[in-house]
């Protein structure tokens, strides 16, 4: 019965401990919906035919044929209906509380969402992008935060979803009884590539998971919550003499350039800043332009004028949002990166080579150790 209805209603597999009870409520509610819509339509169709106006009828039928429904009948029906809806509410709210309140002894994974990818960090120090590895048969709690806008972590097979907010942590817990793979979708509109912000939960047997973790062994100091406090925003306050590049790095982190640009050569939403300065940059219209201070400044203030080949025109203008000194600092930063080599894609840095399952990319450690925080990347105090 469960399986039949699930297939009839096109529901995906029930892959978490909560999904089958949610589906049972689903069946009741949807069957009532279908039955009430069809039932009421049939009833009125019957009456429309039964009481159709006949040719012989006078156009002014006698008034007695029009009884009004008594107030008590109305109230009774309304009361019954509310009782039905309220019963759904009780069950639904109960399940909702179960979803929202994690049991004790969860295994915690830290999730960072950003335009347009998912990153996962494990207490043991491992990281992964786009694949969330979890052990089967154990409650997992995701502690989630966003670096930029609101995203939503959605796994249809688990019947679970939770918005991921910047500046705050939200949590989501689940337990997947058996190993398998399940799609993760971003369900809150978050910009151009919202629809490709997908990932995968890979549920492994506890042994496999242990083996995976062991192979990933990161170092504990950079592990676990990628950022302990969502509100730590570092200062560019007065009285701290710093080199211009350093200031540039902080400004870039704070105004959010590093959401799209990297400092270490990995391409992201925007082109990396490593090794750009002084080169001839290929543009979308086929021409080239010299990346000098003027071009860089223009890219910040009026980014739509020259679009770099292979990138979407999505960069916002920072005109009025950056002080001149800050702009200069960023240019200085980009200058200082002129000799950083872009690593060829797919190469795993030696320190992190391990038994990574195929398809797992390893989050590159960023230049200047930029930490990933909910308010955008953060630079620790020197």
């Amino acid at each position: 019965m469960n399986e039949l209805l699930r297939r009839l209603l096109f529901l995906p597999p029930q892959a978490s401990t909560i999904s089958s009870s949610v589906d049972h409520l689903h069946y009741v509610v949807i069957l009532t919906t279908i039955a009430s819509a069809i039932g009421l339509s049939l009833l009125s169709l019957y009456w429309i035919v039964r009481y159709r106006r006949r040719e012989s009828d006078d156009i002014e039928p006698p008034a007695e044929s029009a009884p009004t429904t008594s107030l008590w009948v109305e109230l009774g029906i309304a009361g019954l209906l509310f009782a039905l809806f309220f019963a759904w509410w009780i069950v639904g709210f109960g399940q909702y509380l179960r979803m929202r309140v994690a049991p004790a002894n969860t295994y915690d994974v830290y999730v960072t969402a950003k335009q347009w990818m998912w990153k996962f960090a494990y207490p043991e120090g491992a990281h992964s992008i786009a694949q969330l590895y979890v052990p089967a048969g154990r409650p997992i709690r995701l502690v989630m935060s966003s670096r930029d806008v609101i995203h939503s972590f959605y796994v249809p097979d688990f019947r679970l979803k939770q918005d991921v907010l910047p500046g705050r942590y939200t949590t989501l817990w689940f337990e997947a009884p058996t190993p398998g793979k399940h799609e993760i979708l971003c369900a809150e509109y978050c910009g151009t590539n919202h629809s490709t912000m997908r990932a995968e939960v890979v549920v492994l047997s506890p042994e496999d998971f242990g083996r995976w973790l062991a192979g990933r062994g990161g170092d504990p100091t950079t592990a676990a919550p990628p950022d302990g406090d969502p509100a730590v925003v570092t200062s560019v306050g007065p009285g701290k003499p710093m080199s211009l590049e350093r200031v540039g790095e902080q400004v870039a982190a704070q105004v959010g350039c590093l959401r799209c640009h990297t400092l270490d050569g990995t391409p992201h939403i925007g082109p990396t800043w490593a090794g750009v300065y002084g080169t001839q940059v290929p543009l979308a219209d086929g021409t080239h332009v010299l990346a000098d201070g003027e071009y860089l400044t223009e890219s910040m203030m009026d980014p739509m004028v020259h679009i770099r080949a292979g990138f979407q025109p999505v960069m916002p203008s920072y005109l009025g949002r950056l002080q001149p000194a800050e702009t200069a600092a960023i240019v200085e930063l980009i200058k200082s990166l002129r000799d950083v080599q872009a690593p060829s894609p797919g190469v795993v840095p030696p320190s992190q080579q391990g038994l990574a399952p195929p398809g797992v990319t390893v989050m590159p450690r960023m230049q200047g150790d930029v930490r990933v925080g909910p308010n955008g990347p953060e630079v620790p105090q020197p």
């Binding site: 939200t170 509100a231 925003v233 306050g237």
Partner: protein, 109 residues
Amino acid sequence: MSTPRPTPLSSYLIVYAVLIILATMSLGYSLLHLPGGLVVSLVVASVKAMAVLWIFMHLREQRISSALAMLLAVLWIALLGGIMVTDVVTRRTFPERPRPTGEDGFYQR
């Protein structure tokens, strides 16, 4: 519908005096930093607003429907604010909610 007598001059002046006295009392209460300052000052403000509505704005001379328009507006403000606040104070986030920065931490923008 019988319209009440037009408001006499004395009413305006009395209301004005009451307004000034209430404002000054509220100010004093706040300067003394007594407990419940917010509640007291809001209650006083409501009394003042009602005085203005009733006498200065001649609600007393008009049909009840006019007063209802104001009443609804005020209720609606309370509704929106009240429910938003219950959300803010009862939601459990991890950690609680955006926290202020540390002693030296001063965010720039």
